[in-house]
């Protein structure tokens, strides 16, 4: 009996050893949410009759600095102090030598906006500076017809070298060129791909920029006559908002697909008649583009909400006979916007366009700061409509836009025969 009892007891112990609920393995802590550093990477050109200023606007006071980088190192650095809802304008010539460079602007808080404003004798170009690098960008709307020069400027302010692959698509299809296969953007340097030289005579060009190593920020520069346009490459997404100025000048929306297959798109329009659903739709083939000509839509400012069945990126091309301006769309409506560089050129007319995609009437406060002028106005935008605020004379470094409802904001500037368009920088709600 004792033996059998021993066997039973040992069996019980063995069973426990086999089937004892295993202790949870030690695990690492939770991955924290991302909280990107408050920085912006700005393209800059000094020389060739052009000059760049970097406008920095911030809701939060604190120190900041702008570091120009080129050829693997810092070419200069300038520190500045921002007040609450204050602004700073930094001429790049104060920081860097002549050339095409990148500027890394460090600001005290994410509630800030930074923009590049490039001006020449007969040209003006502006764009908000992107902050977070992405693995994949799309930039479209450019062309290389006679008299046009198109460059893709890729900036790498980071410690590690980057390598990117460009997929360039034109009306001829995907363009083959070894140059596009592996473009190295060294650490703290810029690389410029001149599509005007490599692919002359293209009417519509879209470029997919894929980083295979490191991180880059890409912008496009299109020279047309004496004017030029500057616009950001954007990370493709399925929903976009684009605001277009009114008037009779030629303008169009170029929608580029980042997908190798077909992508369906659908466009709703906001304008004087409120929301017009299903204004347009179509199919974009293999990384191609679709163009929506806005010339005959309305002489009033309008806005569009664009949906794609896959990732897409829309761009507004403002193409009057005497100048050129480009900008990308906005991903989301927001209650707070910063429009760096708006009304930043003396003797230039600036209008702020506010689209209200919501169902209620939006009351929008517009404040300008810095420089020699001051802006303090208000605009009421009906639901589904687009409001225009014409800025008074004076030079500021940019505008703060605050609304009681989410809106989409951009600004448009005309200086003689030169034009600039820039979508604002949306801020997270407080």
């Amino acid at each position: 009996v004792k033996r059998y009892l021993s066997v039973v007891l040992l069996g019980a112990m063995a069973a426990l050893a086999v089937w004892f609920p295993e202790a949870a393995e030690p695990s690492a802590g939770p991955i924290p949410g991302t909280n990107p550093p408050p920085v912006a990477i700005c393209p800059a050109i000094e020389g060739q009759g052009r000059s760049t200023v970097i406008d920095v606007l911030s809701h939060v006071s604190g120190p900041g600095r702008l570091t120009a980088f080129a050829s693997g190192g810092s070419t200069g650095q300038i520190r500045f102090e921002l007040t609450s809802k204050g602004s700073v304008r930094v001429p790049v010539i104060d920081v860097s030598a002549i050339g095409v460079v990148g500027g890394l602007a460090e600001v005290p808080d994410p509630a800030a906006g930074v923009g590049s404003l490039i001006t020449g004798t007969d040209s003006v170009a502006a764009e908000a500076c992107p902050s977070t690098p992405s693995r994949e960008y799309v930039i479209a709307g450019g062309s290389t017809l006679s008299g046009e020069g198109l460059e893709i400027h890729m900036m790498n302010p980071y410690a590690g070298d980057a390598a990117v692959t460009l997929t360039v698509v034109s009306e001829s299809g995907i363009e083959a060129n070894q140059v596009f296969d592996n473009v190295v953007v060294p650490s703290r340097s810029s690389a410029v791909v001149d599509l005007g030289v490599l692919l002359p005579g293209r009417r519509v060009i879209s470029v997919l920029v894929e980083a295979t190593a490191g991180s880059v920020i890409a912008v496009g520069r299109l020279d047309q006559g004496s004017d030029s346009a500057l616009w950001n490459a954007v990370e493709p997404a399925q929903e976009w908002y684009v605001v277009a100025p009114g008037g009779s000048h030629p303008r169009e929306i170029v929608i580029a697909s980042a997908s190798p297959g077909e992508v369906n798109y659908e466009v709703d329009m906001y304008g004087p008649d409120g929301l017009v659903e299903g204004y347009a739709d179509g199919v974009i083939e293999n990384r191609g583009t679709a163009r929506i000509n806005l010339r005959n839509v309305s002489k009033d400012p309008v806005a569009f909400r664009i949906f794609g069945s896959g990732p897409i990126a829309p761009f507004l091309r403002f193409d009057p006979d005497s100048g050129i301006a480009m900008t990308g769309g906005a991903r989301v409506p927001a209650s707070r916007w910063i429009l760096p560089g708006a009304a930043g050129v003396r003797n230039a007319g600036t209008r702020v366009l506010i689209a209200n995609p919501g169902n209620g009437e939006a009351t929008v406060d517009i404040e300008g700061t810095g420089g020699s002028g001051e802006v303090d106005g208000q605009l009421v935008v009906p639901p589904g409509g687009v409001g225009v605020y014409v800025l008074p004379e004076g030079v500021v470094h940019g505008l703060f836009v605050e609304s009681d409802l989410p809106v989409v904001s951009m600004w448009f500037m005309q200086s003689g025969d030169s034009y600039a368009i820039s979508t604002g920088v949306p801020l997270a709600d407080e």
């Binding site: 030690p26 949410g33 690098p133």
Partner: protein
């Protein structure tokens, strides 16, 4: 005395002396050397019974007053007796008074000496009172005079050597020498012991051209009262004989070599805890120095009668050194005894296979050596929890209260294994690499022999007791530990059976002194505690468990003494209780379910066989299953986990040993044996890699770029980050979606494996990593610089961190490792530096140029640093005036390691003292 000795009524008649017809027999004078304590009358009576018919006279030489009856004469010295011998006498028979010659002994001597035209003949000497045990049959020597009889210990005379032949020397117990030669040579050297005297006289006879022969038909029983075997006087006498006989040209090389051999022999014997040989050599040398004038005089006198060169002596000498051969034999015997408890190999190869368990031992040893083959060619891998030893002095200093530099440095005493590794490195003359390889190889031998000897002590004799050592090496628990690179776990498993064996001493075993038992217990338990602190509890627990199942061999006082082994580990356990209690620091190992099932099959079958096997198998199974439950339950910290895994293998090994103790065809035995065989197969499979289950690779070589590319500031530290815990060597800390730890850029050493509880610096580093992980930090290098982190290595992942580190400004991606992302941090500050000078490591502290500034040391601050320490955030600064910064524990953390060291030395002394038999 044997029957042959007393059987004088029917003596074997020797051949009559060969003389020409009609010629008288050679006349012989008998000289009896009186040996104190011997029965002189009995000796004279045996002389009187000699059948030889031409004995002219009998004289007794004695320095003590003894009474002899006429016609026997008494002389005070041998010289007197020889000188006074009349010219009519042809031969002198020199015989000891403790010798008992057979009646025909003299007759045989004279006959053979005459027939062989020899100058000196010696008798075959048998041990009196034995069954014809041979003592001397004439000997060869080596060049140093060390006798070599060729006889085995206790060898019986079966007339196997009964051939008259020339020898190097004969025993002085009974020798026949030509009278003229004896008078010419001055007889035996009276200051020499008999053995040495015989050698000396034989050598001198040979150098005068005489032949020295052994006459086996002349048998003499010897009571052995004349000398103490291996006494220093014998050794001294051999030296004197050498100095007297050899020419100067021979002495020039023989003497230095002799001294060198004396040193080697002394050291080798000290390894066996025998100090007497060293004393003997010393006394022999001193005695000869004292006797040097008389030796020189004797040399001069002998030179006049010398007629041949030393070559004549060399002809009868063995090659090499007989003493060194004996040392080699001692070593091999000792090693063999580890496997061959029954001395089967020593007793003779023909009986090897009759020894139970010997083939199991040999098979297990072969498998173990095969399993460790990679160490012979590539050393022990540096991976997981297995890393090189530090320099011996640094390691010992760290154990005895030095700074623990693991991670960012910790105010916790270092893991006690530092003491053991320091000791091992010291014993290998300061070669930590050799010490580590030898120690690892020793682990495999110790595990196998330990299990064999333990189970032998518990009454097992079967082959399974040694084979079960393989289970200990790579059984259910140890294979998991070694798979993670736990070198310490492997070592603890190897020491465990020896420690348990030390406390399992049967009450009937009285031939070992308590000093020795206690000493051995401590000697095994202290290293065991150093390797795996909690494992030092096992011997005591085993005694209790064994007692609870009815066993009686455990000794409670030894079990209590074994707990003193914890002295080595207490500072570490007190300083880092989380090592025992913190479940988040566990390795997260669990024993696969098939192990308890197979073990259960074996032990269940053994329940129905004889009681001895049943009891042991039960105890083993309870240990194994209990340990497995403990491991799988997740209770306790890494120390408990380590203990559980080691004991799981130990218990399973006991079950296997019981199951394979004897083979028979009874169903239960077959089931047990098959189950045990299955467990062995499972274990051997894990050993197939040739590294005893330890992981491959060299993490130090992988990160050697830190040293190679280091500037004047030194290699600093590496921050290793991964989302796979095992990808980082040693203990790791949990971070945001990742594991991490910092390691020394100069290469990780064994003392750095365990990190200790987090201190202020660790908290600060954790917070810095949290910030970097959010992507909010644009300059992570600057953030990590204060920790002296020169390199950040992201191994395998996490991907999100790699993405973040691609968008920062001051950690330079450097393609130094094909499988990891390596980032150089040019912002890093040196480990120890002032404003103008950088300090280097010196022992367990730092040293550099003395100055008036303060030096910041990027280590967690702790009480004990000097001089003039001041907190600097989480780190500290010291005054640079002395040019060095040192750390010393005070209080219990200083006293306990010293106490452990003293206990270790005391254990050695106790063992030595215990070896001295009354």
């Amino acid at each position: 005395m044997s029957s042959r000795m007393t059987d004088v009524a029917t003596p074997q008649l020797a051949e009559e002396p060969t003389v020409e017809a009609g010629a008288p027999l050679p006349r012989v004078k008998v000289i009896v050397t009186h040996i104190p304590g011997s029965d002189l009358d009995a000796a004279l009576a045996t002389i009187e019974r000699q059948v030889y018919g031409a004995v002219t006279s009998v004289e007794v030489v004695s320095v003590e007053p003894v009474s002899v009856k006429a016609p026997v004469l008494l002389r005070e010295s041998l010289d007197d007796s020889i000188v006074a011998t009349a010219h009519e006498v042809d031969y002198l028979w020199l015989v000891h008074s403790d010798a008992r010659p057979r009646p025909d002994a003299l007759n045989a001597l004279v006959a053979e000496v005459e027939r062989n035209d020899a100058a000196l003949g010696g008798s075959k000497v048998l041990v009196a009172g034995s069954k014809d045990e041979l003592e001397s049959i004439g000997s060869a020597t080596d060049v140093f005079g060390e006798p070599y009889s060729g006889l085995d210990e206790g060898e019986i005379d079966l007339q196997q050597y009964d051939v008259v032949r020339e020898v190097a020397f004969v025993s002085s117990v009974s020798m026949l020498v030509r009278r003229d030669l004896a008078q010419g040579l001055g007889g035996l050297d009276t200051v020499l012991e008999p053995g040495a005297a015989g050698l000396d006289f034989s050598q001198r006879v040979r150098l005068t051209g005489g032949r020295v022969i052994i006459v086996p038909s002349s048998e003499v029983y010897h009571q052995g009262r004349c000398s103490e075997p291996e006494g220093w006087r014998e050794l001294a006498g051999r030296y004197r004989a050498m100095l007297k006989a050899y020419r100067l040209v021979t002495l020039v090389w023989v003497v230095p070599f002799g001294l060198l051999l004396a040193v080697i022999d002394s050291l080798a014997n000290l390894l066996f805890l025998r100090w007497r040989p060293a004393g003997r050599y010393l006394l022999a040398i001193l005695w000869n120095l004292g006797k040097l004038p008389s030796t020189i005089g004797a040399r001069r006198r002998f030179r006049r009668v010398r007629s041949v060169g030393d070559e004549e002596l060399f002809r009868f000498q063995a090659r090499g050194s007989i003493r060194m051969r004996e040392v080699g034999t001692d070593i091999s015997d000792t090693l063999l005894f580890m496997f061959d408890e029954d001395h089967a190999l020593v007793r003779g190869t023909q009986r090897v296979w009759a020894s139970p368990g010997i083939w199991g031992a040999i098979l297990a040893a072969v498998i173990a050596l095969f399993s460790a083959r990679a160490f012979f060619f590539g050393g022990v891998p540096n991976a997981g929890y297995s890393f090189p030893f530090e320099e011996a002095s640094t390691s010992l200093a760290r154990f005895l209260g030095g700074w623990n530099e693991a991670g960012l440095g910790t105010a916790t005493p270092v893991h006690p294994s530092s003491g053991l590794t320091g000791l091992a490195s010291t014993l290998t003359f300061g070669h930590p690499g050799a010490a580590r390889t030898l120690l690892t190889l020793a682990f495999s031998v110790l595990a196998i022999t330990g299990m064999g000897r333990l189970m032998g002590r518990l009454g097992f004799r079967g082959p399974g007791r040694y084979m079960s050592g393989l289970i200990l090496l790579s059984g259910p628990g140890t294979t998991l530990l070694t798979g993670r690179g736990s070198w310490l776990g492997l070592g603890a498993a190897a020491f465990l059976p020896w420690a348990v064996r030390a406390v399992f001493v049967h009450i009937s075993k009285t031939d070992t002194s308590p000093w020795s038992l206690g000493g051995w217990t401590l000697l095994w338990c202290l290293p065991l505690a150093a390797l795996s602190p909690l494992a030092a509890l096992v011997p005591a627990v085993a005694v209790l468990l064994w007692w609870s199942v009815g066993g009686s061999r455990g000794r409670f006082w030894l079990a209590g003494l074994s707990l003193l082994g914890l002295l080595a580990a207490l500072p570490f356990l007190i300083g880092d209780p989380g090592w025992v209690t913190d479940g988040t620091r566990r390795l997260g190992l669990s024993v696969p379910g098939y192990w308890p099932l197979v073990a259960l099959a074996a032990v269940a079958a053994l329940m129905f066989v004889e009681g001895r096997l049943r009891r042991l198998a039960t105890a083993g199974a309870v240990l194994a299953f209990g340990a497995m439950i403990l491991v799988n339950s997740g209770i306790g910290g890494p120390g408990v986990e380590e203990l559980g895994l080691i004991v799981a293998s130990f218990g399973t090994a006991i079950v296997v040993s019981a199951a394979l103790d004897m083979f028979s065809r009874t169903p239960m035995r077959v089931i047990a044996a098959v189950s045990a065989a299955a467990m062995l197969v499972l274990s051997i499979g894990a050993l197939a890699d040739g590294r005893l289950g330890l992981p491959s690779g060299d993490e130090n070589a992988r990160y050697a770029f830190a040293s190679t590319l280091a500037g004047e500031d030194g290699p600093g530290r590496l921050l290793l980050v991964s989302d796979t815990r095992q990808a980082i060597p040693g203990e790791v800390r949990a971070g945001p979606g990742l594991w991490y730890r910092v390691v020394d850029g100069a290469g990780m050493t064994s003392d750095e494996v365990w990190l200790g509880p987090p201190a202020a610096g660790d908290e600060a580093l954790g917070a810095a990593l949290e910030r970097i992980a959010t992507g909010a930090e644009l300059r992570p290098g600057e953030l990590l610089a204060g920790f002296s982190i020169d390199w950040v290595v992201v191994i395998d992942g996490p991907e999100y961190l790699n993405a973040i580190l691609q968008s920062q400004l001051d950690l330079l991606p450097t393609p130094l490792d094909p499988t990891s992302s390596v980032y150089d941090n040019p912002m890093s500050v040196p480990l120890a530096a002032g404003e103008t000078a950088v300090w280097d490591r010196a022992g367990t502290g730092f040293a550099g140029p003395a100055s008036a500034e303060r030096v910041r040391i990027s280590m967690n601050g702790a009480t004990g640093w000097s001089p003039a320490p001041e907190a600097d955030d989480w780190a500290f600064t010291v005054s640079a005036e002395a040019g060095e910064a040192t750390f010393r524990w005070t209080g219990i953390n200083r006293i306990l390691p010293l106490a452990a060291a003293v206990t270790f030395i005391a254990a050695l002394i106790a063992i030595v003292v215990g070896r001295v038999r009354p």
